[in-house]
Structure formats: C-alpha cells, structure tokens
Amino acid sequence: MEIKREPISNLRVRQYQARDLLRGDMDDEELERYVEERVLTTTVDRAVGWAQGNSIYPLTFGLACCAIEMMSIVGARLDIARFGFEAFRASPRQADLIILSGRVSIKMAPVIRRIWDQMLEPKWAISMGACCSSMGVFNNYALVPSDKFMPIEVHVPGCPPRPEALMHGILKLRDKIQGHPVEGWRERYAAVGTEELLPGGADLTSANVDVFKPGDTAGA
C-alpha cells in the first residue's frame, strides 16, 4: 500500500500523535504513516557494515619511510579522527586494519603474515607505497611484494604517497566495507580462519589464559 507523506511541522501535533501511539489509540493508515516517518528499516548486514566502516582501528605498525606519512594522518591537519579511525591499536588482536607502510623484505614477510593471522576478523589490509605493492626502486633480491603472502584490500600508490592519498585509500576501504563487504577472494590466499589462538588450541581454561606466568621470563 502506498503511503502518502504529509509534512508535519507542528510540534504540538507530533506530541499528540506520540501520545496516541503509546496509548494504542493510533491505528491503520495513521499508524502506518507515523512508523514510516520515524523508523528506518535496513538489513543487519548493512547496519553492521555501516558501524564497522566508521570505526576502523588501524594497527600501530610502520615499516619504512611511508610510516612517517602514515603518522601524519592522525595529526591535526588531516585528522582521520573525523571518520572514526584515530585509535591506533598497539596489539594486532585489537586492530581491524593493518597498513603496510614501506618495503617488505623476504625475512620480514613471514613476520607480517603472522601479525596478520593474529588479527581477528573482521580485518583489512592496505598496501601503502610503491615498495609494498610492486617493490618500487628496491626491485631486487631482498624484497617481496605484499600480494604474495597476504590479501590486500587497497593499494595506495606513491613514493611515498601523500597523507591525502592514504586517507583517500582508507575512505575507499570504508566504502568497500559498507558497500561490498564480501568479495570472496581471501580463500585464494588461504587467509580465512587463520586466526592464531593460544598454544594448544581453543582450550581457554583459566590456567591457560596467562600465557606467561608471573616470574616466567621466557617472553621478556
């Protein structure tokens, strides 16, 4: 059934209608119109995507000179706090986004992949700069492009990219999260369900939660 919107600008009328609704006196067409005007309907996926896209927590992780540009986007001039991305997390287990900011050497690649596996779903990755995407000027025996070992959502070109470019990349990622959350290409990297749990599997008894016991200096 078609609902005709009527602009109700009178505050007094709105108050009476709300009282009718609460008393249960409002019915039929009047009720339909009231609900249509005041309730936004959506799907759970879209609502979750909206929330996730507006609260991405990046990981505090810098590799090279691009990290300097990455740091400047949290400063006052560019200020990604406007979009809800300002909380750089110090632990991969609390972060949603890893920004590979710099060159990835062959020796560093397994370390990065492990950090990526330690991050919990939902998680995303941005490859920042030429070195990380195509090895740039360091196209030699020492480096490996990041696509080789983990799934990358957004590549930001530049050497280094300006902070505006990185911010554009992050906003592209936000559009991606909110618009097309499922792309189905992580399976090709065997990057689904690879979250690293505690040693010994998911046996989360209280005795196992403390990975390093008091006095144990093995992890220091």
Binding site: I106, N139, N140, Y141, A142, V144, P145, K148, F149, Y189
Partner: protein, 169 residues
C-alpha cells in the same frame, strides 16, 4: 695514509717475514693497498696488527667479474695512534672461495665475514659461526655476485594474478 714509499717498505718487511705473502702493491689516489696471498692472509694481518694497525674497520667482498680470480676480500686496517689506514686485498676464485677467518685476531670481523659469506659466498675457514646474516637461512645463491639475476619477484597485476595467487602460501 702511508705514502707510496712507506707502503713499499711495509710490503718488503712482510715479504721478509713471510715469503711470497705479498703479491703486489697498489697506490691509487692516496689509498695504499697490499695485495696478499689468500693462503697467508692471517699471517699478514697478524704482522700488521703487531706493527700498530690494531683496528679492523671493515671486511667486505667484491666481485671483479669478468676478471679472474673473481672474488676479492678487502680488509681495511687502521692505526689509531698515527691515524693511518691501509687496505689488504686478497683474491679468491669462485671455484674454491676459501680464505682463513681472522676472527681470532680481530673479533669485530665476526659479523662482517658473515655478511661477505652471505652476499658473495666467500667461505671463511675457522669462523666460529659461519651462517647467513642478512638473507633468510634457506636462501639459494649469493645475491651480490655479478652473475646473480637483477630483477626480484614478479609483480602481480590484474593480467597475471590468477597464476600467482596462492603460489607462496
């Protein structure tokens, strides 16, 4: 830097002490170089150390391709009291890239000999812990040699992503 005369005197002293230990000398743009026999490199450096060159500033490898013997090992020594530097160069072939380690004389040579081994494949006999230092331990080849391919990993683009995805997973 020692001047050309002093370089020749040092070379002659070394030849008197260890016969055939110095094959040649070079004096180029104020830089004095002794070209030593790789089999006697330890004796040469020990003699120079006793003469006052007590600081080993650097050990590095060079690939002189296409000249033979291809590989060079350079030792940069310094006398900190007279503030003088001297280089010692030893050439080894890629077929038998062996030279004695000088870690016993100069402990600072430890990591630098490992780097020369990592990049050029020069084997330092007698080194306490000779393994790769910069590249991964399972890496094949010696990347700073001239016959090592220049390019790195193939870059992924849209046209070749299918054949590369998951290759290294």
């Amino acid at each position: 830097m020692p001047d050309a005369t002093e370089l020749e005197l040092t070379a002659q002293e070394l030849r008197d002490a260890h016969s055939d230990s110095i094959l040649d000398t070079e004096f180029h743009r104020g830089r004095a170089t002794l070209i030593a026999d790789p089999l006697q490199i330890k004796a040469v450096l020990e003699y120079l150390q006793s003469k006052g060159y007590k600081f080993l500033a650097s050990v590095h490898g060079v690939d002189y391709y296409p000249h033979e013997p291809r590989l060079g090992v350079l030792y940069e020594l310094m006398d900190r009291e007279r503030v003088e530097r001297i280089s010692v160069k030893a050439r080894v072939s890629t077929d038998h890239p062996h030279i004695d380690s000088v870690v016993e004389l100069f402990p600072s040579a430890d990591f630098q000999e490992r780097e020369a081994y990592d990049m050029f494949g020069v084997v330092f006999d007698g080194h306490p812990d000779l393994r790769r230092i910069l590249m991964p331990e399972d890496y094949d080849g010696f990347p700073q040699r001239r016959d090592f391919p220049v390019g790195g990993e193939p870059v992924l683009f849209t046209y070749n992503e299918e054949q590369n995805y998951g290759k290294y997973v």
